[in-house]
Structures are given as C-alpha cells and as structure tokens.
C-alpha cells in the first residue's frame, strides 16, 4: 500500500491581472483574458524563489501529515526555475525543514511535470521499503519574456506531497500511475537563456493534448476504469481552457474539473500546477471518492495517477484550504511586477 499522507500548497501574496499586463503592451486585455481563461496570476516577491516557495509548501505538508522533518527519507524538488544551475534546491529545503542528514535528495527538471515525477520516485522507494516517507515538491517562479504570450500566465507557486506506506496514515491511496513520454520540442530554455522559448500553437495538439490523453487513456486501460468513475479530475493547467478541453475530450463533466482548476486565479504555476490543483481537491474530497490527476511537462510527457481518498482525510486536511489561502492577495502594477521579478536589467 502506498499513498499521500500529507500535502501542502503555497502561493505568494502578490497578483498582477492579465489586463494590467495587456495595458503595457497596448493589447486588448479583456479579450486575452477570455481567450486564455485567466484573470490574474500570482507573482513571487523579489525575495522569493522556487526554493522559498518549496520550503513553505513542505512545512505545510509536514503539518498535515503530522510528522517531523527528521522522518523524511527522500526529497525531490521538481522545478524549471531552480535558483542555481548547479547546487541542489533539495538540500536547502531539507535543512530548512530540519530533515536529518540521513535522506537522499535530488533536483528534478521536466518542464512542468518534474513534481509528479518526484511523486512516482517516492512511491517506488516507499513500496520497495527503502524509505519510510518521501517528500516530492513541484515549485516554480515562472518567467515569461516581456510581451510574449507566456507573460500573461507564467505564475509562481508550489505544491508538496508526502508519500508513505502505512494504511493508518494514508489520506489518499495511489491506486495506479501511468506515464507517457516522447521527444517533442514544444517548449525549452537553454542553459544560459533567461526566458524560455516555445513553439506557439505547436504546444497544443501534438504536445499537451496528445501526451495528457496518452497518459490518461493508458491509466484507464491499466485500472479498467472509466473517466466518470472519478469524482474529481485534475490536469496540468497552462491556461484556464486546456483542462476543460481535455475533460470534454475524455467525456468528463466540467464540474469535476473546477475544484482543481486554479490557473484562472493564480496563473500557471508550472511544476506546481497539477499538485496545487490536487491540494485544492484534497481540501474537500470525502472518504471513498476517486481522483484522477494528470500532469504535463513540455519536451514532452504526462504522469497520470488514480487516487482513492481514505477515512484519514477527516483528520488530516490543510489548516487553510487553497481556495481560502489565495483570497489573501495584494495587487501590483506592471512597474512593481518588473521590480519584483527583476525584469529591469540594471537590477
């Protein structure tokens, strides 16, 4: 038996609206906002990065799990905005949560799906008995090139999941996982480049949709389940529209997607995206309910999971639900945004 024993989500305080970004570039903000299904995005402050968000999310995950950092046997941090090119984020997170030095750690990168890859690695380690508990984190302070389409959605946030194997501690059992990966260059960032590049419309059909559908269909075949056997579905959410479209393609009712669809309010949190959505679902899911989750990482791949919520969820939910947490916010204009995200070159 293996499953989630704790979860934590952290979204920074500041927000910028799509309309404010559009104003600067003399574009039609309302039109863009409707087209991408995003109203505003969360922005990390100048003193926040993928590492600080990961630490905050991990502390919340330990709190819901009710265990101390010393118990963690593995830490995997998935991000495409690791603060260092060389020097792990995972060891900083480990020290900050007071893990004992006796844990394995690595930073992962697979565009937006490195966090779910970390969940799978923790599953394997827990199942094999190599570790008791593993911590997997998806975190990003995503950057879009000024006046690029990505600038409207590239947000900041983190989700942390603790995986364990004891029945009495598991809040959501992971029944099955299935991954689907091909070499598809829809989005990338070279080593020295500050901002990522992407293939425009190429990021849709042959990339996001093909891989997420591939993973979900593989999962359904493996579990002999139907899409509507799931009470909730959480998909990677680069914008507010793709998850609804994928649900439609799979014949899943839209209402099952909404609880885990945060991008309209906080933007695309990249590696955090599907895990933040899962956190929001765990905030309200009842024992016995089933959750479908599928991440997506450009480059390209998707990890799908089938989860069943257990009785233990009643005792172990986040103190502050995700939908409540994101209500605490402070709007900033483009100038402050540029300052916080260091888009001004002399800073």
């Amino acid at each position: 038996m293996v499953g989630i024993i704790g979860y934590g989500v952290h979204v920074p305080l500041r927000r910028i609206t799509v309309e404010e970004i559009a104003r600067v570039w003399k574009k039609d903000g309302k039109k863009i906002s409707n087209a991408i299904g995003v109203k505003e995005k969360a922005v990390g402050a100048f003193d926040e990065d993928a590492c600080t968000l990961a630490v905050e999310a991990s502390r919340k995950a330990l709190e819901t799990a009710g265990i101390s950092g010393e118990k963690i046997g593995a830490i995997f941090v998935g991000s495409e905005s690791h603060p260092y090119a060389v020097k792990p984020t995972a060891s900083i997170v480990g020290d900050a949560i007071q893990a004992s030095p006796e844990y394995m750690a690595a930073d992962l990168e697979f565009a937006c799906k490195a966090g779910t890859a970390g969940m799978q690695m923790c599953m394997g380690l827990v199942k094999s008995g190599m570790i008791e508990y593993g911590l997997a984190i998806g975190t990003d302070t995503a950057q879009g090139r000024p006046n690029d389409a990505l600038e409207f959605t590239a947000g900041s946030g983190a989700g942390a999941i603790i995986i364990g194997g004891k029945q009495e501690e598991i809040i959501a059992e992971i029944d099955e996982t299935y991954s689907y990966t091909t070499d598809t260059p829809d989005f990338w960032r070279r080593q020295q480049a500050e901002f990522p590049q992407h293939g425009g419309r190429f990021t849709g059909e042959p990339a996001y949709f093909k891989h997420v559908l591939g993973a979900v269909k593989g999962l359904l075949a493996k579990t002999k389940m139907n899409p509507n056997d799931f009470d909730y579905a959480v998909f990677h959410q680069p914008n507010g529209k793709f998850p609804k479209q994928i649900a439609k393609m799979l014949g899943i009712e839209e209402k099952r997607v909404l609880q885990g669809l945060l991008t309209p309010m906080i933007g695309n949190t990249y590696s955090g995206s599907s895990i933040v959505g899962l956190g929001s679902v765990l905030d309200i899911a009842k024992p016995g309910e089933k959750i479908l989750m599928a991440s997506y990482g450009s480059g390209a791949g998707s990890d799908a999971f089938a989860l069943t919520v257990t009785e233990n969820i009643r005792e172990k939910r986040a103190k502050v639900p995700v939908l409540e947490m994101i209500k605490e916010k402070e709007y900033i204009d483009y100038t402050e945004y540029a300052k916080h995200r260091k888009k001004i070159k002399t800073m």
Partner: protein, 134 residues
C-alpha cells in the same frame, strides 16, 4: 572566485533557517541568537541548543527609506524587533504585510525568504523574515 565569508554564513544556517538559539537550564531563559555565555548566570549558566517558536509579536518597529549596502533596492521596508512566544527577541524584516497592520503588539509568524542575493554569480543567503498574521 572563492567567497571568504562562506564558512561564517554557513555556520548560521540553523539560526537563519529554523531559529535555532539556546536556553539556559539554570535561569530558564531562551536566547536568540544563541549566546556563548548566559548573561544572567555567567559561569553558573548551563546553555543548551534550542529551536525558537516560529510566532510572536512586534515590540518595536521602523520603516527604512535608505537601505544599507545590499539592501538599497529593497526600500522602503519594515524592520522590527519581534518577541517570540518564549520571550526571546529577534530582529527581522517584516514582509507581505499591510503597512496599517504593522504596529506594536501585532502578531507575526516566521516565513522563509531570501535575505541576500546581490551577486548574480555568488551564493544566495536564505533565512527568516516575519509577516503579520490576521
């Protein structure tokens, strides 16, 4: 390029990451940052390592409009003396808080932030800041 201050910085990680200070078993007082000698008991003191609570209240604060070297671009910002729940005091920046809520007696909690990142090719220093809650 070697960074000569690194060992000094690194030794302070426990203090900066999770408020490790110390506690005198003789006079039962907590200290942050950790003291080498108990100021109350001197030679009779018996200091042991102890992590401080992560919440407290503001006992004094100021707003800085001219920052020292390395903090010039962070202005204006708030600096406060925070009394932790065990009575120990920490000097800290106050972030993510409405200016109207920053006052003596305001409840605060610790957050994990970058505290210095001035050299784009150098090491990043992480540590504590506080934010007003409620």
């Amino acid at each position: 390029m070697p960074h000569s201050a690194l060992p000094l910085q690194w030794r302070r990680y426990p203090e900066r990451y999770y408020l490790k200070g110390n506690y005198c078993e003789n006079c039962k007082q907590s200290f942050f940052p950790a003291r080498t000698v108990c100021p109350n008991c001197r030679r009779k003191g018996k200091l042991v390592e102890k992590s401080m609570p992560h919440s407290g209240k503001i006992v004094s604060w100021t707003e800085l409009f001219v920052g020292p070297f390395g903090f010039e671009q962070e202005t204006p910002y708030f600096l406060a003396i925070v009394e932790l729940e065990n009575g120990a005091k920490a000097l800290s920046q106050i972030v993510d808080s409405d200016a109207k809520k920053i006052k003596i007696g305001a409840k605060v909690k610790k957050v994990f932030r970058k505290i210095s990142d001035i050299d784009p090719e150098g090491p990043i220093a992480y540590g504590y800041k506080f934010k007003v809650v409620g």
